[in-house]
Amino acid sequence: MLNIKTIDDTSINERVYQLNLGPQHPSTHGVLHLLLKLDGEVVISADPIVGYSHRGHEKMAENRIWEQFLPNTSRIDYLSGLIYNQGYCMAVEKMCGIEVPERAEYIRVITSELNRISSHLLGIMAFVMDIGAFTPFLYGWDDREHVLDILERVTGSRLTYCYNRFGGVRNDIDQEFCDGTRRFIDRLRGRFKDYHNLITENIIFIKRTRGVGIIPEETALEFGVTGPSLRGSGVAYDVRKNEPYSVYPGFKFEIPVRKEGDVMARYQVRMAEMEQSMKIIEQALDGLPQGPIRARVPRFIDPPAGDCYFAFESARGAVGYYIVSDGTRIPYRIKVRTPSFSNLFVLTRILPGNFIADTIATLGSIDVVVPEIDR
């Protein structure tokens, strides 16, 4: 690790070279503005400026009835739309005490895990492209295309799903969906060998990622980092395991954890997490019960007054819906706790002392989705 002490701005004011890793930049994964103060190639201080794609989801929530906020949820983090849909529906069901049939829970878990795999595929391959290898991005895109086709067969859309409803899901899954998913899983397992040969064991990749952008466990705790970025630093915190919801307690899966906390550790955690998701999907497909896919729910629901916080695990970390309802048909306040908001802020603490190339690698390894920060 570079032992360059972080130089404070005052001492070398004239040599500080301010670079805007601007809102429009090939590797900021969205409209993110990173204001870097550089001494030569070494970063002195990094100040992320966000808010370029702020659409005011929380204000929209206060002007719509409970059902109308569903399309918004999958647009907050467009890479894990289904997971956010499931979270919102479960939060409202928890407040109203709606009982969801067993089959709907299984379908929700299967589609969420497929969505998690597609999000990880894109996150990892975009990060590898930031390091400089263009080809794996296209291979990841090809695999992701298969997941999107499977999900399109049942949900009807590819990115912004609006598939879950209060009390269950919209369409049922058929046998073709189950076979398609199993074929996809076997195919992806075969492809992992190629990814490991092409990326993980590649000496240039190892040199670029080993010991770079280390997030110590203490800093992760102070900044509230969650998700693969935290699990890369040695803390086994996964909402599906620590705070089980839906039918996750019924499945056997481990939480991949690495100790080093550097860019390589986060990459390996994500790769291992995809295998765990595949294990969950297989167990869910085997134990898929028959039965209705949607509970009897009134057309316009109005949850009892009070507030509720429901946390669940998206591909990027622990997401939480804090909902305040005043008993009417319009929500009083919906706050979405998104993981990328805290994960990105950690950069200000760990970036000083790195080169520009490492800044790009660290930013890519935290797998930030900017609309999720701006909401």
Binding site: H54, E62, L221, G224, G320, I330, R337
Partner: protein, 164 residues
């Protein structure tokens, strides 16, 4: 069905809070409906003490939100643990509309951005905050969007008469 680890942690938390915050009302929330194990209700001070207490027990600050009630703001601090016997504590603090609460970013640096967002949307100015400026809205904006008084547009009137 909290595990025995959670019960032990909850008990320990409860009596440590009663000692530290005499004026706060501490009730144990029912996890099934509200998602929190322990609720701490405070008047307009004591955020720092709760934060320090939580930091010793290695809780992490999940989020800070504000809710705009007709006569006052309610600041909601959510802490939860990373480790096995999972437990979530919610601290509610009622403050008046013009109050300016003290910032906890000295204890939890992550709170710096959370407080900036609350200032950006509600106009609540936090004292002792490293750099309190707008985070999501344009810097020269003079409005605070999430206030209930903001934004009675034609659209919202139209919704009100259709739905309510």
């Amino acid at each position: 069905m909290p595990t025995e680890g959670q019960k032990k942690l909850l008990e320990e938390l409860k009596n440590s809070f009663t000692r530290a915050l005499p004026e706060g009302r501490i009730t144990s929330g029912d996890y099934a409906r509200t998602g929190c194990h322990l609720e701490v209700r405070m008047s307009d001070a004591g955020m720092r003490r709760i934060a320090r207490e939580m930091k010793e027990r290695r809780f992490h600050l999940e989020t800070i939100t504000a809710v705009d009630f007709p006569d006052s703001f309610e600041l909601v601090y959510l802490y939860s643990t990373y480790y096995q016997d999972f437990c979530r504590v919610i601290a509610r603090i009622l403050i008046s509309k013009e109050a300016s609460p003290v910032s906890v970013s000295s204890i939890y640096p992550g709170a710096c951005w959370l407080e900036r967002e609350i200032y950006d949307f509600f106009g609540i100015r936090f004292t002792e905050h490293p750099d309190l400026r707008r985070i999501l809205n344009p810097d020269n904006a003079d409005y605070f969007p999430l206030l209930k008084t903001f934004g009675k547009t034609k659209l919202t009137e139209e919704i009100d008469d259709i739905l309510c």
